[in-house]
Structures are given as structure tokens and as C-alpha cells.
Assembly symmetry: C2
């Protein structure tokens, strides 16, 4: 028998049915070391057994840590069950055709060392006529086999440029940004997994890139990716945007004050791509920042569009999985990960992500060597 440590969602953060406050290690997210697994004999029931290589703590996990009575775009977590999120796993045994021992797979997986994964068919239950759904049953999103880069780039890139953050940036940018060479884009949270990719995609389109970040280390990182103007919003505030006009496009990872500032300083006929709202995730709805300049939406004829990744995968996902690995291997897209070691570090790693942290790069929790 082998130990199978996991991280469970022990209780809801307090206030507003779980919408408010940070999920704290040891309180809301706890390490459960009581489980064991017999790797050689555990029944697979037609599925397959995986070993977790790394887990990818992402801001969107916070949304799932709410009371199930609150509707949202994802299903909520079950109190007492393991956290589930994106990660990279390697297959140890399989009773499933097309999946074999040694395969790398990326997708949704429980925060535990080893998992008996169910039939993939059983996890995909979207009907084409219902696409895209209003609410995703995240747990039914399948793992998919991905190539082993074989040293061409670190596997941790599957958590950043080649993972959900990179995919978010790619499909949103291709599908909604209408980027134009010579125009300027403002990217908030430019050092985040999504932001760092948008910065690079925009530079590749020949845009001027203005980005904000929350620490000098992050600002340096964003500059190293090619951004033309980088500012620390905690020191400079967002009014600094005024000095860098004209701005034609805003990629919103942050919401709140950043969104208000962008609306204030964008050119007429600009576009806002609403990808996330890092500033809101741990606040009760009533405590969120109130945007007062929405009247400018008609005065400036702005268009704001929100998206979720699965909406755009059918159109743009294919290109992502062919184009980005090549660009990474050629060094034309850069990606940096900050590695937390061991599954026990996962709650701290998520907290660092939700706090904005001090590090530059996508946070990854390394659970096992490959």
C-alpha cells in the first residue's frame, strides 16, 4: 500500500455563503494523509490509474468554494471532498483503449497523489445542441492526452503558456480582441498566467503593450516579455494610464478599479475583453468596487465582452495546441513558473495566487517527479 495524500475542501470561507474571504491552509483547505492506495491492484473498472505530476492552482478555483445554492458558471465544490483543478498526470495502468501507461494527460484532476480516473466518455456529458452551457460541470471536463515535450521545454509549461492560462489568453485574444497592428492594448495583471501570455500575443501582433502588475519583481518579468510600458498599480495607481494614451483595447483580468480606469482612458470605439476579475474573487458582492463611469460605454461607444474558455475552444482550441508548443520550443513565447514543492504546499500556493503574491510567474505545485 502506498500513501495517497490529498487536499480536501474542509469548509466554506466565512460570510456570504462562502463568497467572502480567503480559503486558509489548515482551515478551509486541509491535508488529508489518511488514505492509501494499492497501485498494482486497485480496481480500475474500465478506467485508468494516474499519478499526479503537478497541480495548477488558479484564481477560478475560488469561485467553486461557495455554497451550492449560489448559481454560477461552474458547479460548486463539495465540502469534505478533494479540491479538483487543472493538472498534469501520468498514466500508470489503464483498462481504457487509446490510453496507455506512460501517457501524459492534462485536465481536471483531484488534488491527490494518485487517482483512479473514470471512463472519459462518462465525464463528457455536453450535448452539442446545449453548447455552450450556462454552467459547466467542471468535474466532467475530461483529461486529454498531451505530448511529452521530451526536453524541448519544461513540463511545467503545461501549467502556464500551454495550460489553461495560456489557452484562455489564446482563445480570447484570437476570438474577441480584434487586435490591430500599431494600436495599443492595456493588460491588467500582466504578470499572471493569462496576462503574461496576452502581453506576448499582443506584441506578436505588433501592438504597443501597456501592462500593470502588483510588485516590482512582476513588473520586471512583464518587461522581460516585451511590454512597452509597465507600471506597479499599487504604487502608481491606474491614473498613470492617462500618460500613455491612446489606448484601443483593454484585456481585463482584474475588474473593479482597473476596469473603471480603462473605461475612463480608452479611445472611442474601443473594445474590452472581460476575462477575469482577480480583485473581486474573495469579496462579498456588496463589498466589491463600484464602477461609476459606465455611462462612458455609450458615450465612447465601447464594447465589453465576457468569455469563458470552453466557449471558444471549438473554434480556436485546435490552433492553440499546434501553434503554441512550437513557439515555446523555438523560444518565441516565454513562460515562467514558480514551483511549490509537494502536495502539502498546494493550499499555500493557492493562497499566494489569490493574494497576488510577490513572485513573477505561474504558480505550480509539483507533486511528483515525472
Amino acid at each position: 500500500m502506498t500513501s495517497n495524500p490529498r487536499i480536501t475542501f474542509a469548509k466554506l470561507p466565512e460570510g456570504s455563503n462562502g463568497l467572502q474571504g480567503l480559503p486558509m491552509p489548515g482551515e478551509h483547505l486541509i491535508l488529508d494523509q489518511t488514505r492509501t492506495i494499492d497501485l498494482d491492484n486497485v480496481p480500475l473498472n474500465g478506467g485508468f490509474l494516474t499519478k499526479t505530476i503537478f497541480l495548477s492552482p488558479e484564481p477560478a478555483l475560488r469561485e467553486r468554494m461557495r455554497d451550492s445554492s449560489i448559481q454560477s458558471y461552474t458547479t460548486s465544490f463539495i465540502v469534505g471532498a478533494p479540491v479538483i483543478g487543472f493538472g498534469l498526470v501520468v498514466v500508470l495502468r489503464s483498462e481504457k483503449q487509446d490510453i496507455k501507461a506512460g501517457d501524459y494527460m492534462y485536465g481536471q484532476t483531484p488534488w491527490e497523489a494518485y487517482t483512479v480516473q473514470p471512463y472519459i466518455e462518462g465525464r463528457i456529458d455536453f450535448k452539442p445542441e446545449d453548447w455552450p452551457p450556462a454552467t459547466f460541470d467542471m468535474d466532467s471536463l475530461a483529461l486529454q492526452v498531451v505530448p511529452n515535450p521530451g526536453g524541448a521545454f519544461p513540463v511545467t509549461h503545461y501549467a502556464s503558456a500551454l495550460g489553461t492560462p495560456g489557452l484562455s489568453a489564446f482563445v480570447g485574444f484570437e476570438g474577441l480582441a480584434q487586435a490591430k497592428e500599431g494600436q495599443a492594448i492595456f493588460v491588467s495583471a500582466g504578470g499572471s498566467g493569462v496576462g503574461s501570455m496576452v502581453v506576448q500575443l499582443a506584441k506578436q501582433k505588433g501592438m504597443k503593450v501597456i501592462a500593470s502588475a502588483g510588485s516590482s519583481a512582476k513588473c520586471d518579468y512583464v518587461r522581460s516579455l516585451g511590454a512597452d510600458v509597465v507600471f506597479n498599480y499599487k504604487e502608481d495607481g491606474y491614473d498613470v494610464l492617462k500618460q500613455h494614451k491612446p489606448i484601443h483595447l483593454y484585456w481585463d483580468n482584474v475588474g473593479g478599479e482597473a476596469l473603471e480606469a480603462a473605461i475612463e482612458h480608452l479611445e472611442p470605439f474601443s473594445r474590452v475583453v472581460c476575462c477575469g476579475s482577480l480583485s473581486d474573487y474573495n469579496k462579498a458582492p456588496s463589498e466589491r468596487y463600484g464602477i461609476k463611469n459606465t455611462t462612458l460605454i455609450f458615450k465612447k461607444r465601447l464594447t465589453l465582452t465576457g468569455f469563458l474558455v470552453p466557449d471558444l475552444i471549438p473554434q480556436y482550441g485546435g490552433r492553440f495546441f499546434t501553434e503554441i508548443p512550437a513557439l515555446l520550443a523555438q523560444g518565441k513565447i516565454k513562460s515562467r513558473e514558480v514551483v511549490f514543492e509537494g502536495i502539502d504546499s498546494a493550499p499555500r500556493a493557492l493562497l499566494a495566487v489569490l493574494n497576488g503574491g510577490e513572485d513573477a510567474g505561474k504558480v505550480v505545485v509539483m507533486v511528483a517527479k515525472e
Copy 2:
């Protein structure tokens, strides 16, 4: 010599360079009775002389009553000069080809009884390559000759269904709403000039129409136009929308609280057409309502689009001026005007519009019988 009374913009409303507070009759807007005009001999300099039939006080005039240092989508008014807005005039004399005595014209005109209008060519200075402009020089928007309905419908309809409010509703609805039969639309300020037209256009598309208004008289009026659900937001608040889900489209005439409520209750993948923000026009930017749920834009994958009428006229204006007069004559589109008598009532009339008033119908200032 004939008396030529006019309404001048005497001084800026106080606070925030004119953005705050209502323009009060006798203080910010004053009746100037000192002017006279010799109707038979006043030189036309190649232009034409018009007599004002009616003036159309509209919320958008408020935006022009600001300090010229504040940029916006329209040029600001000049303190001491007459107010300029949409109205219907009749030509008395002309030195301009294609414009002859007796012609009705609709467009921008000073708030005075008689006006020597300059060359039309001199007033249109938009270059096609600059279209649409970020800021409109409103005073250069031309009067255009319109048909005399000859009793088929009241000429005051040129202030409502056939005027700027109707045009706003038509071009915005055709261009941006993506209305679908069987779906539901929420229209705020459903009794306003724009709102009442949107209600009717949506009904003609086979939509379920939910509308808000600020008095029981207005609610009755909106019901008479065919709206399925009408509520008084001052009594019921906007949470009443929850009872009337699903809602697939929101036409925003109001901004602030109404916009927040719509975002809260719209279905995923809904669209918001941002046409105006009545709730903001007299408030300093810092005192406006802060919208706290913009995070739902991405979670629900909403699209918010703002427009100004001239942007869409090239595409949809032609159909408006052919289709709507026929529908009015056939009684398939209804329009109601509340008539203020005499140019001296114009400041009060505008105040009533900006206050939301108690009357149901588009406010019109009748300056002269035809």
C-alpha cells in the same frame, strides 16, 4: 420688426465644471426677449430663414451644459448663446436651391422663434474617412427637409417616434439588439421617447417585453404600447426582474442601478445595448451609482455595446425614414407627446424631462402653430 424670443444658456450648473445639478429655469436657462427680426428683409447670405414650429427637449442636452474643457461625445454649449437642439421648423424664405418656402425641416436648430440658417454645406464638415468621429460638433448637424404628413399623423410625432428618440431606438435596435422572436427584453425608462419606441419595435419582433417606468401614469402608457410586464421601479425596485426571468436582452436608457440589476438577472450570453444613462446626467462623476457586479460580464459571457445615433445612420437611417412614417400612418406604431406651450416653457420642459417628470409621452415645446 417681429419679436424673436430665445432661450439662452446663461451659466453652468454648479459643481464639477457643470456636470452636477439640474439646469434651472431663470438661472441657468433664461428667456431673452430683447431680440427682434425683420422677417421680410433680414439678409440670408445664401442661406434660409426658418420659423420654429416645435423644439424637442432631450436628456442629451444636459451633457452639452458643461465646461468646454471636459471632453465628451458632443461639443459643449457656449455660455450666453442660445440652447441648440432638435426641432421642427418651417422655411419662410430661402436663397438656397432645393429648399423653398413652406418646406418642413427637422434637425438641430437654436431655441428661438426665427433663425437665419446658414448654408447646409457649411454645416456638414465630416469627412467620410473620419467617420464616425469621436466627438460630434452637434451644431454642424444639418436640418433636413422632411415630408409634411398632411394630417396622416400629428407633426409632433417628429419629436418622438419620427424624431431623434425614434431614430435612436430604430438604428440601435436594428444594428445592435440581435432581437430574437420568443426571447425577452428588459427596457428601462420604457415610457421615454426612446424607450416607448423600443417597446414597440421589440413587440413587432415577437419578443416578450418587460419595462420599467417611474410613475403609474407612465406604467399605464407603456402597457398601452403592448409591453407584457411593466413595473414602477420607484415602488418595486429592480429586484422584481427576478420574477420575470428568463431575460435575454437589456436596452439601457438609465445606467446605474438599472444596469446593475439587468446584469444581475440576465441569462448567460445576453446582450446589453447601452443607449443612455438618465440616472447619471445631473450627477458629478464621483456621485454616480457604483456598479459592483461587473464580474458577471465574464461569468455570464455578456456583451455590452454602446452607440450614438449618427454612428448607425449610414446603415439604418434610410429604412427609418421610409418605414416608420408608414407604420405611424397605419397606427401600427403609437406615439404620444406631452405639449408645453410657448418658447418660454422650454426651460421648464427640459427640467421635466431631466427630472423624469410625471407625464407619459415625449415632451415637446410648441413654439408656433404651423
